[in-house]
Symmetry: C2
Subunit: 222 residues, 2 copies
C-alpha cells in the first residue's frame, strides 16, 4: 500500500491558462468529478488535514489524491495508507501547477468514477494562487504558528480561496494568534470566504469541514 | 520612527541573473557591505528573528534592512522601531527577488557606510532559492511547526543556504519535531550547512547566531 506511482509533470506549453482551466472545469463538471485545489505554506498541515478529510468522507465518496511536490514522495505514501488512490506529481522544480499540469495529473489517475479528486498543491502562498488549476473550488490552510497577519502579506491566495481552514488551533496557547483579527484580515481580502478553524491533530473542526466539502460535491454533481 | 519608505520594485530586464549577481557581490565586497539574504516560509519568524539580530549587533555594526513583500509594510514598520534604517520593497506580485531587484533595493537605502545590509526575502521556500540576489551569504529559517521533513520536500533552498536557523524551539513540546532527524535531512541536502537552533521569542540561540553573523561580516571586510 505504500508503493505510489510518481508522475513527472511537463511544463505547460499553453499561454492561455485561464481558458485551459475553464475547459478542464467544464469537462470535470460533465463527468461529475469535483476537483479540490488545496494550497498552503510548507508545514501548515496539508497532508494531515487530508488524511482526516479522507477518513471522514471515504465511505460516502470515491476519492483520489494528487500530491504535487518538487521532490520526494513522503506525502503520497502517507495518503496511500488511508486506502484511497494517490499519485505523486513531481513538478520538476516548478513552484505551482497550472491547468494543463493538473490535467496531466488527472489523466494519470487509474481509478474510475471518482467523486472527489484532491490536488495537494506545492507548499507556497504566492505562485499557486496565480494559476487557475481548473478546480471546482480552491481551499487553503493557514496554520496558527504562521500568524494572523498573513492575509495582509499574501493577499491573492486569500482572494482566490473559497474556504480557509485555520489549522493547529490546539497550539493557540503557545502562539500570539488572534482569531478575531485573523477572521477580519481574511474577510478584508475576501468577504465571501468560508472560514473553518480546525485541528487536524485532535480532529476538532474536521466535521464542519467535511460537511462543507460534502455539500460542495453534492452541488457540483447536480 | 514608524513611517517607512516603500519602494515599488520593477521586474528585471536582465536575462543573465547569475552574472548580474556576481557583479553586485563584487561591488558590495569592494564597498565593505555584507549582504545577508534571509529566506523562509511565511510565518516562520523572519521579522522577529531580525529584530533580535539587530538588538544583538546594532552597537557594533551599522545595519540597514530591506523588507521585501508582495504587499503591506507591517514588517518594515516593526524593523524601523529597532532604530535601524529600513525600507519596504514591494515586488508587485513577484514571488522572489533577483540581483537586479536587490540592487534597486540597495540603491534606495539612504544610509552611508553600511556594514550589514539584510534582505528579508518574500516568504516562500521555492522561488527565492532559484535566484542569486548577489548576497554575501544566504540564510534561511525553518520553524519547528513546519516539521523536520522540509529538507526532503524543498531541496534547493537547503542547498543554497550557508546557515539554517531552526526557529521556535520553545514550541518543541507541542509538535512532533525530531531535531536530530531535521539535522540529518538538512545535511543530506547540504553537508556544509551551519545549523543553529533558536527561539526568537525567548532569545535562546540568538547569541550563537549573532556570533556567526558577526564573524562572517568581519571576514567579508578583510
Amino acid at each position: 500500500m505504500d508503493q505510489v506511482r510518481t508522475i513527472e509533470i511537463r511544463q505547460s506549453v499553453y499561454a492561455n491558462n485561464d481558458e485551459r482551466a475553464r475547459l478542464l472545469r467544464g469537462e470535470l463538471r460533465a463527468q461529475g468529478i469535483f476537483l479540490l485545489n488545496l494550497m498552503s505554506s510548507p508545514g501548515s498541515g496539508k497532508t494531515t488535514t487530508l488524511t482526516r478529510t479522507i477518513e471522514a468522507l471515504k465511505d460516502e465518496l470515491k476519492i483520489a489524491v494528487m500530491e504535487a511536490d518538487i521532490d520526494s514522495d513522503v506525502d503520497a505514501k502517507t495518503i496511500a495508507q488511508t486506502g484511497v488512490h494517490a499519485v505523486q506529481l513531481h513538478t520538476g522544480g516548478m513552484c505551482h501547477l497550472d491547468a494543463d499540469m493538473t490535467r496531466q495529473g488527472l489523466d494519470s489517475l487509474e481509478e474510475q468514477n471518482i467523486d472527489l479528486a484532491i490536488l495537494e498543491n506545492v507548499g507556497n502562498l504566492v505562485c499557486p494562487a496565480e494559476f487557475d488549476t481548473g478546480a471546482s473550488k480552491n481551499a487553503m490552510i493557514l496554520s496558527v504558528p504562521e500568524g494572523h497577519d498573513k492575509p495582509l502579506k499574501y493577499p491573492l491566495i486569500f482572494q482566490v480561496c473559497d474556504v480557509v481552514l485555520i489549522n493547529k488551533i490546539d497550539t493557540m496557547p503557545v502562539f500570539d494568534f488572534d482569531m478575531e483579527e485573523c477572521r477580519k484580515n481574511i474577510l478584508m481580502r475576501n468577504p465571501n470566504a468560508k472560514i473553518i478553524p480546525i485541528s487536524a491533530k485532535t480532529g476538532e473542526g474536521i466535521q464542519e469541514w467535511a460537511d462543507w466539502l460534502r455539500e460542495q460535491v453534492r452541488l457540483w454533481k447536480m
